[in-house]
């Protein structure tokens, strides 16, 4: 019943405007123990070479054959009009609520906008898409608005004025994702209302213009949140074949990821930025940023920007080199390899993102649900959640949390290696099938070990 105490409200409000590069959420996870780090890395290493040595020698995954139709009753529900409309309405309500707190809410950290933007939208869609399939696409408010406009003007939401240039592929989404992580990790006023509101407004405007120009294809390729969510949903059990709902093993499903220009850029932004998020809190980086050289020359901004960019580029470089260092047949240009193998890094990205954000999602996510009951910071309780107390269960059990994080990373690695193995058998000429995988394997081990190291050292 008790509203947020005024002292808490004002203290948080007073902190705004000056807090530098400090995201939402209070304390962060403890580093994972050294023993677990090493165990995880060794497990990843062993599994990698075991897969190489013992796994199948003929391609196993084929979009045409794998999976089976979903149970008829389930399919009927999911394909029904009320289901479709229901999620669209949910998305529009969520959009209206977000717009409301963005425009009318206080410039204070208890404004739920920050939690909605940085936690529910950015992190929440990862588990949601993993469990339920392409979740953002189902509720995407920009798709809904585009469809409504098309209906009013008598057009078709799928078709725009122009054809979406195939060459662009996912590059616009990669750029959008980069702008999001830049906002979250580099921009110094990330927890002020104005900039977040502006970011959202630009996003919505760009999506509506894009949708009008290119139709729904635009969202599939350029909406950063939809692209992220749909990419993660490739690891879910759900997919469609000729519009029919199909249940598949996540590995078989992952194999159906379309090879699109910019896919490597998307995965590199996601992995590189998460790694930088870990790294930027490490003592070494903090001391460097706050050290005399950077401070005296006023380089804080530049160095932070370069840090994020470097992480993303290094991930892209390691992956590109890792996939290209193999013998290929005459009919497969080497430069096509990174794109052809890009799906295999998706599980590694998801495993690492889950590990990195697990406690953040649960704890700051719950805090967001609490704040959402009080959109205008006046002590109201719209949804009855205002008097919840955040459960710090996972933080209170650091060993269990650390073990879960390592398991996430290692599981992602194993799935990635298996996916790459199957693709290698599919693509590479017989004599290069085993040796051709080695360089990619090394790249993957670098990512996994690097991710674990950052969880340990930062």
């Amino acid at each position: 019943m008790e509203p947020l105490t005024s002292s808490q409200g004002s203290s948080l409000g007073g902190a705004l405007g000056q807090v530098f590069a400090h995201g939402i959420g209070g304390s962060k996870d403890l580093p994972i123990p050294l023993g677990l780090t090493i165990a995880g890395a060794v497990a990843a290493l062993t599994v990698s070479f075991t897969v190489l040595a013992v796994a199948w020698r003929t391609p196993r995954y084929d979009a045409e054959r794998t999976g089976r139709p979903a149970p008829a009753r389930l399919a009927r529900v999911v394909d029904s009009r009320p289901w479709f409309v229901g999620w669209r309405v949910f998305g529009m309500l969520a959009f209206a609520y977000t717009a409301m707190v963005a425009i009318g809410g206080d410039d204070s950290l208890i404004n739920p906008l920050f939690g909605i933007f940085y936690v529910l939208l950015w992190v929440g869609f990862v588990p949601a898409s993993l469990l339920l399939g392409p979740a953002y696409k189902a509720i995407s408010p920009v798709r809904t608005i585009n469809a409504m406009v098309a209906k009013l003007t008598g057009g078709d939401p799928d078709v725009g004025v122009f054809r979406y240039p195939a060459r662009l592929g996912l590059w616009p989404a990669a750029l959008g994702l980069y702008l999001f992580v830049w906002m979250e990790l580099v921009y110094p006023f990330a927890t002020e209302l104005g900039p977040v509101r502006l970011w959202c407004a630009v996003y919505v405007a760009a999506m509506l213009v894009g949708g009008a120009l290119f139709g729904n294809t635009f969202y599939e390729h350029a909406d950063p949140f939809e692209v992220y969510s749909t990419l993660v949903s490739r690891m879910s059990a759900w997919s469609r074949r000729d519009k029919q709902l199909v249940v598949r093993s996540p590995l078989a499903n992952l194999d159906t990821t379309p090879v699109t220009p910019g896919l490597v850029a998307v995965t590199s932004v996601l992995f590189g930025s998460t790694a930088f998020d870990s790294f930027k809190d490490s003592t070494r980086w903090v001391k460097f940023i706050q050290g005399n050289y950077v401070q005296d020359h006023g380089l804080t901004h530049l160095v932070n920007n370069l840090g994020l960019l470097t992480f993303v580029l290094v991930v892209a470089l390691v992956f590109t080199v890792g996939t290209m260092l193999t013998g290929v047949g005459p009919d497969l240009p080497r430069r096509e390899l990174p794109g052809r193998f890009a799906h295999s890094i998706v599980p590694i990205v998801i495993g690492y993102v889950l590990a990195h954000y697990l406690s953040y999602l649960l704890e700051v996510g719950e805090n967001t649900l609490i704040y959402m009951s009080d959109p205008f910071s006046n002590g109201s309780n719209w949804f009855g959640t205002a008097d919840w107390q955040v459960s710090y269960f996972v933080s209170d059990h650091p060993t269990a949390l650390a073990t879960t994080k390592v398991l996430c990373v290692v599981t992602g690695h194993v799935i990635g290696v298996v996916a790459a193995h199957d693709r290698a058998i599919h693509l590479l000429p017989k004599r290069h099938q085993l040796t051709g995988q080695l360089s990619l394997l090394v790249a993957m081990i670098c990512f996994t070990a690097g991710g674990l190291y950052l969880l340990f050292a930062a």
Partner: protein, 123 residues
């Protein structure tokens, strides 16, 4: 057959390796009673602050006391849940001790300088 055996062996080895390392470490929050106070001396002069982003180990529930020597009054933020703010004056101020009641990394920042003074590693 050999492949199967190898695969099984790897799985067992990895699981054992992970499980073996999962047992150590303390969990849950101590009651903090009888823990000695951790005193951290902070010097702020002009644009510089010491310590400058170091890690300091503290226990869950252990009182942490900041002794601030500063050339101007200011404010220190402790980014725990919920956040705590401590004000200090020019000269030497001993701030009221605070405790952190759950494990994690807690940043202690200088408000005006926008710098991390220490990161408390709370176990």
């Amino acid at each position: 057959m050999i492949r199967r055996a190898l695969a099984a062996l790897t799985l067992v080895a990895c699981t054992a390796g992970l499980a073996g390392c999962g047992g150590d470490g303390s969990s849950g929050s101590g009651d903090g009673k009888g823990l000695s106070t951790k005193t951290i001396t902070v010097t702020i002069s002009g644009d510089s602050v010491t310590p400058n982003g170091d890690r300091v180990d503290v226990q869950v529930g252990q009182p942490v006391e900041l002794v601030v020597k500063a050339d101007a009054a200011g404010e220190i933020h402790v980014h725990s849940d919920p956040e705590q703010q401590l004000e200090y004056g020019a000269g030497t101020t001993t701030l009221k001790p605070f405790t952190i009641d759950k494990p994690g990394i807690v940043e202690v920042e200088s408000h005006a300088l926008e710098k991390t003074i220490v990161q408390l590693e709370v176990k």
